[in-house]
Amino acid sequence: MNLTLKIWRQNGSQDKGRMVDYQVSDISKDMSFLEMMDVLNEQIINKGEEPVAFDHDCREGICGMCSMHINGEAHGPDKGITTCQLHMRSFKDGDTITIEPFRAKAFPVIKDLVVDRSSFERIQQAGGYISVNTSGNTQDANAIPIDKHAADKAMDAATCIGCGACVASCKNASAMLFVGAKVSQYALLPQGQVEAVDRVKNMVAQMDLEGFGNCTNTGACEVECPKGISLENIARLNREYFKANVKG
């Protein structure tokens, strides 16, 4: 396959940034998208130029590091996958592919396609945890009976890998699917009840502080989420936040 790539190049957070065109040839349809990017970077390095910076780590859809906005969609045109799971068979010979970083005020660009998603970390630090006494008398988690239905929903919410596709896809750059998933995975379990009020209040306060937009329920986040996190989690977040404020 011969392709034209339009890639966002930005030399550091202070640079204005611009789209740059590249040509790549002899790309196998069996390559992953990131392997295609590796080929491009080899080509750029051989010319003595600066390679395109992009995030990646596990390359098997687990770590949530890859974060490209491809042809107008987070993680590209295929559903339920991360960028590293996207394969070149999803494109045609002669295609022009536009590649941009995830865009949000709360995700500032570090370089080229690499964005700073530490705002997610700060939201997690604000309450996305449970406090457990590890002094030696820790109770076995399995000793607490949990309804299967609730356990399944909590596990579904816990599959969020924090990649930020929800923010990137949302027209408002809202992080509510991420926060909804993180609040839900604890709200559904007895272990999460002790800190439930403070957790949701602190995480929402941090989310607002980071500059994410307001959710308007377009559902784009749910469609683009590589892990299929449901909008039910945003509804649960809304309920939990209301309950927490009523309780004080």
């Binding site: 339009k6 966002w8 940034g17 789209m19 906005h69 042809n71 107008g72 969609e73 045109p77 536009t98 941009e100 865009r103 949000a104 005020k105 709360a106 660009v109 896809s169 027209k171 408002n172 750059a173 809202s174 509510m176 929402v204 306060a205 989310m207 607002d208 500059g211 994410f212 937009g213 307001n214 959710c215 308007t216 329920n217 377009t218 559902g219 784009a220 469609v223 683009e224 909008l231 039910e232 945003i234 509804a235 649960r236 977040l237 809304n238 309920r239 936040y241 209301f242 404020n245 009523v246």
Partner: protein, 224 residues
């Protein structure tokens, strides 16, 4: 709870609650207006009651006005905040791949509804306030002794340009409600086994109520 309404989720609740109120009001407005087609006398009677009853005029009407203004002002404030949350726009963004046109353009459908409402107020509400509270005529009667409400309504829908304008206004109301109805429930945390049915009901509501208003405008245009 003051902190609640300053938060992003609190604002969602506030938008949803004002939306619920306005959606109930629209049903009530339609129920009265459709009487003008089937029973003009009943339409006159109930219009006179609504227009002169102190509880409606000085209790419900100010709440309604507040609800309308709040929904628009909060909607525009949220839109500005949301646009600021993505200061650098995508060069290429395929919004249609993951969300409906209605959900992505609530500010536009809402903006056109606001323009329609201003015209609607100039057509009906301001003259009504002038007659009742400036000229002091609370009788609701024409010089010939008949009620004026039905006559005024049918007279307004004689010019085709006004009928066309109202039809366009209701199309935008329909587009707004097609997303807004179910969105309001999601905003207050109602997403459960009834959501699918609720979405279906919401779609029917969003199509049938504006269609009913369009029918009323067309009926009076072609029958008078």
């Amino acid at each position: 709870m003051s902190g609640f309404f300053n938060s992003s989720i609190g604002r969602k609740y506030a938008m949803a609650l004002s939306a619920f109120f306005l959606m109930i009001f629209i049903v009530q407005h339609f129920a009265i207006n459709i009487l003008s087609v089937f029973n003009p006398d009943a339409f006159n009677e109930i219009s006179h009651f609504m227009g002169t009853n102190p509880l409606v005029q000085f209790g419900l009407q100010p709440i309604l006005l507040f609800g309308v203004i709040f929904h628009f002002v909060m909607g525009f404030i949220l839109e500005i905040r949301n646009r600021n949350a993505r200061s650098v726009k995508y060069v290429r963004n395929n919004g249609a791949a993951n969300a409906t046109w209605m959900s992505r353009n609530m500010i536009w459908s809402g903006g056109f509804i606001l323009i329609f409402l201003v015209i609607h107020f100039i057509d009906f509400w301001f003259p009504e306030i002038n007659t009742k509270f400036i000229q002091g005529d609370m009788s609701g009667l024409l010089p010939n002794g008949d009620y004026r409400y039905y006559e005024e309504l049918t007279h307004k829908f004689v010019p085709i340009w006004r009928v066309a304008l109202y039809c366009v206004g209701f199309v935008f109301l329909s587009l707004h409600l097609l997303h807004g109805f179910s969105s309001a429930f999601q905003s207050v945390g109602a997403n459960n086994k009834y959501t699918r049915g609720l979405k279906g009901f919401g779609k029917a509501y969003a199509i049938l109520i504006p269609l009913g208003f369009i029918f009323i405008a067309l009926f009076h245009h072609f029958n008078h």
